[in-house]
Symmetry: C2
């Protein structure tokens, strides 16, 4: 007759140590990379990214995307699998990926669409001159455009002269 009591106690003790689990089931923790490069150190916000860019004198890549967008997904696959690109980003860039537009209009020179890549110089100048291959969406890239993207990254690495 004692055992059921012990069992209930054991369950209660176990429950008190258990972490919170949502009614809908356990979730996979969200990553800041969102699959665009788990080994990169991603800034969380545009303000943070600008601060890192200025203080480390590295150009910033801002990547706008949507989790449910098939174009973003296809591009993400080649982007995260491209070791050359990931290495350059890790060593020479500040990176930020956003699923929500900022209030800064300079980050959408020709409109808000995804996927869209904007480079920003450490002098906080948006590099509107660094564009992809499409004239109607100048900052869009597709999976076949990785060579151009890497070339554009090399261009972004040649920093603008600071006007101090």
């Amino acid at each position: 007759m004692v055992r059921p009591v012990y069992f209930v106690l054991l369950v209660l003790v176990a429950m008190s140590f258990a972490k919170y689990i949502p009614k809908t089931g356990k979730r996979v923790p969200q990553t800041l990379s969102r699959g665009w490069g788990d080994q990169l150190i991603w800034a969380q916000t545009y303000e943070e990214a600008l601060y890192w860019s200025r203080s480390r004198n590295k150009p910033l890549m801002v990547l706008f995307h949507l989790v449910d967008c098939p174009h973003s997904q296809a591009f993400k696959k080649v982007f995260s699998d491209n070791n050359e690109l990931q290495k350059i980003l890790d060593e020479d860039f500040i990176v930020l990926n956003l699923v929500y537009e900022t209030t800064d209009k300079h980050l959408s020179p020709d409109g808000q669409y995804v996927p869209r890549i904007i480079f920003v110089d450490p002098s906080m100048t948006v590099r509107a001159d660094i564009t992809g291959p499409y004239s109607n969406r100048m900052y869009a890239y597709e999976p076949n455009d990785m060579k151009l993207l890497v070339a554009n990254m090399q261009k972004a690495k040649k920093l603008l002269k600071s006007e101090l």
Copy 2:
């Protein structure tokens, strides 16, 4: 004599499938929760959080902290272990944790310090009236203040009337 060639080929093939690993060694992917509740769905930016808050008519909790701050760490431990608090946050709140200050001064009514918790109503009004127990840092909480924090969350759940 053929085997070494196969071996080299095998290594090359394996390398082409290998993901990028930084020189300093493999990193643990960063999470958006930063340890404050892996089961919660965290907004990435203040703009995103405000949008979710308005559209879902849920109050927003903004949590400022620093990864290297011992006060933040101690508070994070009790915060993430408190299932009652985690459940209320998950079901009734929009949550955002930031390691970098925003440009919005309303989020630092009495200065920038960590850890600091600011509630925002879905009407986008900062609830400066919901304060912790310390008069010199009105939005600070310590590990022993969890009861007050849960009470403050209940207060934040009573939404302000929209002025439409």
